[in-house]
Symmetry: none
Subunit: 252 residues, 2 copies
């Protein structure tokens, strides 16, 4: 799926290194359209250096004079905002905003997300151009996010939404070996119990909770077939070397 | 709610500026415990400068020599990983990992999340110390995230989870026994390897992937203390009966 209809707009950025950091953060998450509104110093070597392999995003960036120009053809505009505003605007967190940005972009709309100055964010008259305000819930002890970090978080949420939350919920969804069957597990438990008795660890007349605990352990992990073979192998080898050591001793 | 049981561990960081960026990213999201494993250059003025108002996080950071030391008392360890590994480990995305980190921390456990070197991440032997691997789904055109950005994303997901936490905790939240520490697990693996060699199952000159597979298995399940004792007991008893059988044979 394409995120080509989504643009990131940086307003009056002061530190040119941040522009490079933003380009990299965007490309890491599959975003490519960057618009710079009146950056203090640009082009700048520090922007290029910080962009690393996202230099193409920088090269294709538009540079314009006003926010109005940057969003002229946009049909849905989100503005990031750290502060409470005097007149509350509709505000959502980055996850909710990203969801709406992607939904609208996929419906064919041009959408934009605005990030303000390093020191004081977007001005009221800029925020008033937005359909929605976006708030990243930082901690009250140190709420001030670096500009590139803020873009990184929003771009990440956009990518997570675009991927459709389709990532495997189960940690073992792409396992390399099939999982063992219940029948194989039963054979394993019988073999395990037998071996534990042979080595003298399990007393059949006073078994306590030992086998139950071991079953809980191995059922909890869900053994795959190769792991089961390894464990069966160690049991067989334990039995064998125990018998060898016994009979080998007898021979001498 | 407190995130005091969560520690961020940076392994062999090359650029000291990144350490400062990480400290800021953490404090922005309410995390405070930072451990540095053998940073190339630290303390460093660039770290302090990039930390900005998170200088307190830097000042309280621990500096240690090894990953094992950094996670010795941790009961749940997550390692960030960009690459596909030859033997897949349980892997979840940052959101899922953050959810489990917060659940376990709130249940009173010590938890750690590891971030590797800027150029090649965590090594295989470091990833094998982890219960779970964390993958941030970057775009294939430019998958390489800056270190501080990666920490920012995970710290953000931790905060989002901590803020929104009303869901039932994970299945092992009410476990009956504390989970084993990483240090105990290391002792267990050493004992296991030793025993497998004694019974002739593991050939030290051709170890194949045997220990790696066994580590994956036991780290995946997260052994509790009693389970670990049982397994250590079976190893000790196997060694003992093997020696007894050998010497007992000699007597007859």
């Amino acid at each position: 799926m394409s995120l080509d209809n989504i643009r990131v707009v940086l307003v009056h950025t002061t530190h040119s290194g941040n522009i490079g950091g933003v380009a990299r953060a965007m490309k890491n998450m599959g975003l490519r359209n960057l618009t710079l509104v009146k950056p203090l110093e640009y082009p700048a070597p520090e922007a290029e250096w910080r962009a690393a392999s996202a230099i193409d995003v920088l090269e294709q960036a538009s540079v314009v004079e006003t926010v109005a120009e940057a969003i002229a053809d946009a049909q849905f505009v989100v503005g990031t905002s750290a502060r409470e505003r005097r007149i509350p605007w509709p505000v959502q967190d980055a996850r909710q905003c990203a969801s709406r940005l992607v939904d609208n972009a996929q419906a064919g709309e041009q959408v934009a997300i605005l990030f303000g100055r390093e020191d004081r964010g977007l001005l009221n008259e800029e925020l008033e151009l937005c359909n929605l305000h976006c708030h990243i819930p930082t901690h009250e002890d140190y709420p001030s996010l670096n500009l590139a970090m803020a873009v990184q978080l929003v771009a990440y949420e956009i990518r997570m939404k675009a991927l459709g939350d389709t990532l495997p919920a189960e940690e073992d969804a792409h396992w390399d070996t099939p999982f063992a069957t219940a029948k194989d597990m039963q054979h394993f438990y019988t073999h395990l119990e037998e071996t534990l008795i042979e080595i003298g660890f399990l007393d059949p007349s006073a078994p306590r909770q030992l086998m139950r605990r071991l079953k809980r352990l191995y059922n909890r992990v869900r053994l795959d077939e190769m792991e089961l073979n390894i464990l069966r192998g160690t049991l067989a080898e334990t039995q064998k070397s125990l018998r060898d050591a016994g009979s080998g001793g007898k021979k001498t």
